[in-house]
C-alpha cells in the first residue's frame, strides 16, 4: 500500500496578483475584445466578464491555460425582489422613494442585462481560480459548456429549471429537483416565496433594536 501511495508535505506558493494579471492578459490575447471587464480584489480573487458570444470560447481558452477543474456554473437574477425581504430593518428610517428603485444593478464587472451567468474554474497546478460572468441575452439562451467541461451538464440543468435559461447544444435539459410539471422558475426574484407571503418571518426579532440599546455606537473596529 505504501508503495502505491503518494504523499506530499511541501506547501506550494500561493498565487499573487501578478499571476492573476497574467491570466487576464492570456485571456485577452485569446478572445480579444470579447473580454468586456475584469475585477481584481488584491490578494484574493479575480472576476472576468466576457461577451455572451464568447462564453464557450472563454472557457476553452481558460481550460487550455490550465484551468481544468470545473467548480460550478449558475446564474444571478439582478432584479431587486418586488416582494422585499419581509424583514427590513425596523430601526431604519422609512425609505425615500428614489428614481432607481427597482432598477437592475449588477455587481462586480458590471453588465447590462437582468440575468447573468456565473461560473468558476480552477487551475490546480497554479492554485488560482477565476469567476466568469456573462450577460444573458434577451432570448434567455446561452451556449452549453458540456464540450469543454463535462461537469457543466447537471449545473446547466439546474440553472435551466431555476432561472429558465436555455442552453443550446445541451442534450437533456430535464428537471433535476423540481417535479416535471412545475411551472415557473423559483430562483427568479419575481417568483414569490409563498410561505413568506402568508406569514411574516418570526426571525424578525433578531434585528429589532434592544430597548435602550446602543447599537449605533457598537461598530466594527477594523472597517
Amino acid at each position: 500500500v505504501d508503495r502505491l501511495s503518494d504523499t506530499t508535505t511541501e506547501t506550494p506558493a500561493l498565487p499573487g496578483d501578478a499571476l492573476r494579471e497574467g491570466i487576464i492578459e492570456d485571456l485577452r490575447s485569446a478572445i480579444g475584445a470579447q473580454l468586456l471587464d475584469t475585477h481584481l480584489v488584491p490578494q484574493r480573487d479575480l472576476w472576468v466578464r466576457v461577451a455572451s458570444e464568447a462564453w464557450v470560447a472563454a472557457a476553452t481558452a481558460l481550460k487550455s491555460q490550465g484551468f481544468e477543474y470545473f467548480c460550478f456554473l449558475s446564474a444571478i437574477d439582478w432584479l431587486p425582489s418586488p416582494y422585499g425581504k419581509g424583514e427590513d430593518d425596523p430601526s431604519a428610517p422609512p425609505e425615500e422613494p428614489s428614481p432607481d428603485k427597482g432598477a437592475v444593478k449588477q455587481g462586480y464587472t458590471g453588465g447590462a442585462t437582468r440575468f447573468q451567468m456565473l461560473a468558476r474554474v480552477t487551475d490546480i497546478r497554479r492554485h488560482v481560480g477565476v469567476t466568469l460572468k456573462a450577460d444573458v441575452p434577451d432570448s434567455l439562451s446561452m451556449p452549453t459548456w458540456i464540450q469543454v467541461y463535462a461537469g457543466a451538464n447537471w449545473h446547466e440543468r439546474e440553472t435551466h429549471e431555476m432561472f429558465g435559461i436555455g442552453f443550446d447544444g445541451h442534450p437533456d435539459l430535464r428537471h433535476i429537483y423540481l417535479p416535471g410539471e412545475f411551472e415557473g422558475f423559483p430562483m427568479r426574484k419575481d417568483f414569490p416565496l409563498l410561505s413568506r407571503m402568508v406569514k411574516p418571518w418570526p426571525g424578525i426579532v433578531d434585528v429589532e433594536p434592544m430597548p435602550g440599546g446602543d447599537d449605533e455606537e457598537e461598530t466594527v473596529a477594523e472597517s
Partner: protein
C-alpha cells in the same frame, strides 16, 4: 495514469466485453432496474434507473431531487446570522464544516477576521466534523458490501466524536455554533483532555477498519479496478475531496489556499493515490481520517489564549460586494458565492456542494459495469443526499 491503473482498466474492459458477447449469443433481453429512492445503498433518497443487459449496465441515471429544500432561495429571505441554521442541514454528517465557508465569506465582505483562538477552535471543530462524517463512511462502506461488523465499530466510535461536538457546541448534529466574527462560546472545561483521548481511540478505530475491511480479500476484490476515474475526467466533472485525490490529483483546499483558519499552523500530509478506482477512494478517506486526528492534536497543543469574538455590531449589515469562499469539507469542495447588496441578508447565495458534482459523474462511470459494482461505485463516491439536493 499509471501503468497499474491502465492494466486494471484494460482487464476490466476485456472481461466486460467477453460478457457482452456472451449476452449477444444468448439473446438476453434488456431490463430496467430501479434502485431506490428508498434503498439502503442510496444514503437517503436517491433513485437510480439502470438499463441492464444481462448483468451489465447499459446506461444508468441517478434521479435526485426527492429532498430538495430550496436553500438558495431561502437564504434570500434570511439575515446573515440566520443562514447558518439552514446550511447546517446540507451535509448533515459534518454540519459544522458547512457553516465555516459561509461565515468566512461574510467576514471577508465585512473586512473582519475572527481572533486567533476562534480560528483555532473553528479548525478543531471542522476536523472533528470530518472525523464524524468520514468515520461513518468507513463503517457504512462495509455494510454496503456485505460486511456488518464495521458499522457497529463506526457508530461506537463516532459517538465519542459527537459527544465532543455536543460538549463544545450543545448540538450533536446541527451545532449552529459559528458566528460572524468568531464563535458563540469558548470550549468547556476538561474538553481538551477528553479530545486527546478520543483522538487516540479514533486512530485505533482506523487501524481496526484497516485490518478488518481493507485487509479483507473480498473487499479488495470488489473494489480494486472497479469504477476507475482518470484524473482529467475527474477534473472536468469537478470532483473534489478524496474522489479527486484518489485519481492522483494533489489538490487540497486546506493547504492550497490562504484562509483565516489554522491549517497553515499544523503539519499534515495530503494523501493521494494513483489508481483512481473504488479502492483508492476508500483508502484515501481512511488516511484522511487518521490525518485529521493528528491535525486536531497539533491544534490542541498550540491553542492560543485570547477572545473568541471580534467586535461586531449586534445588527449585522454586510457591505455591498461579492465573495467566493470554499473549504475542503469532509465530502469535498464546499463553497458559497455570496452576493450582498448592503442589506441585512444576502442578495444571492450560490451553494456549491461537493456531492452534486461528485454524483454527476455517475452516468459516465456506471456505463458498462456489473450490477453489484453499482453499489460499490456509489459507496466509494460517497455522497450525502442533503449535499446533492440542498
Amino acid at each position: 495514469m499509471t501503468v497499474a491503473n491502465e492494466r486494471q482498466q484494460l482487464s476490466y474492459i476485456a472481461a466486460q466485453a467477453a460478457d457482452a458477447r456472451l449476452n449477444v449469443e444468448l439473446e438476453t433481453e434488456g431490463m430496467t432496474l430501479n434502485i431506490g429512492p428508498q434503498h439502503p445503498a442510496t444514503h437517503g433518497t436517491l433513485r437510480i434507473i439502470a438499463r441492464l443487459d444481462g448483468e451489465q449496465v447499459v446506461w444508468a441515471e441517478p434521479v435526485a431531487g426527492y429532498m430538495h429544500r430550496g436553500y438558495e432561495k431561502l437564504t434570500e429571505v434570511r439575515t446573515f446570522p440566520q443562514v447558518t441554521t439552514l446550511i447546517n442541514r446540507i451535509d448533515w454528517l459534518g454540519s459544522f464544516a458547512n457553516e465555516v465557508p459561509f461565515i468566512l465569506a461574510a467576514e471577508q465582505l465585512m473586512g473582519i477576521e475572527a481572533p486567533p483562538r476562534a480560528q483555532h477552535i473553528r479548525t478543531i471543530l471542522f476536523e472533528l466534523s470530518r472525523i464524524a462524517n468520514v468515520g461513518l463512511f468507513l463503517g457504512d462502506l462495509g455494510v454496503q458490501l456485505g460486511a456488518i461488523t464495521p458499522v457497529f465499530l463506526a457508530f461506537r466510535d463516532r459517538e465519542y466524536v459527537l459527544n465532543l461536538i455536543e460538549g463544545a457546541t450543545g448540538g450533536r448534529f446541527h451545532p449552529n455554533f459559528d458566528r460572524i466574527g468568531g464563535l458563540k462560546d469558548d470550549l468547556p472545561a476538561g474538553w481538551i483532555d477528553e479530545t486527546r483521548q478520543v483522538m487516540r481511540k479514533l486512530r485505533r478505530f482506523c487501524d481496526e477498519i484497516e485490518d478488518l475491511l481493507f485487509g479483507n480479500e473480498i473487499f479488495q476484490t470488489r473494489t480494486r479496478g472497479v469504477g476507475i476515474i482518470p484524473a482529467d475526467v475527474a477534473k472536468s466533472y469537478g470532483l473534489s475531496g478524496a474522489n479527486l485525490r484518489a485519481s492522483g490529483v494533489d489538490w487540497d483546499l486546506r493547504r492550497d489556499q490562504s484562509l483565516p483558519m489554522a491549517w497553515d499552523k499544523v503539519e499534515f500530509k495530503v494523501w493521494t493515490h494513483p489508481d483512481g478506482d473504488s479502492w483508492a477512494r476508500c483508502w484515501v478517506r481512511l488516511q484522511e481520517t487518521r490525518e485529521a486526528t493528528k491535525i486536531v492534536e497539533q491544534l490542541l497543543d498550540t491553542l492560543p489564549a485570547g477572545p473568541i469574538m471580534a467586535k461586531v455590531p449586534r445588527i449585522i449589515k454586510v457591505p455591498e460586494g461579492e465573495a467566493w469562499v470554499a473549504t475542503e469539507n469532509p465530502l469535498g469542495e464546499m463553497g458559497y458565492y455570496v452576493v450582498s447588496k448592503g442589506d441585512l441578508g444576502p442578495f444571492r447565495v450560490k451553494i456549491r456542494s461537493a456531492s452534486f458534482n461528485n454524483i454527476s459523474i455517475s452516468p459516465w462511470l456506471l456505463r458498462g459495469v456489473y450490477v453489484p459494482d453499482i453499489i460499490t461505485i456509489l459507496a466509494s463516491l460517497y455522497f450525502i443526499l442533503g449535499d446533492i439536493d440542498r
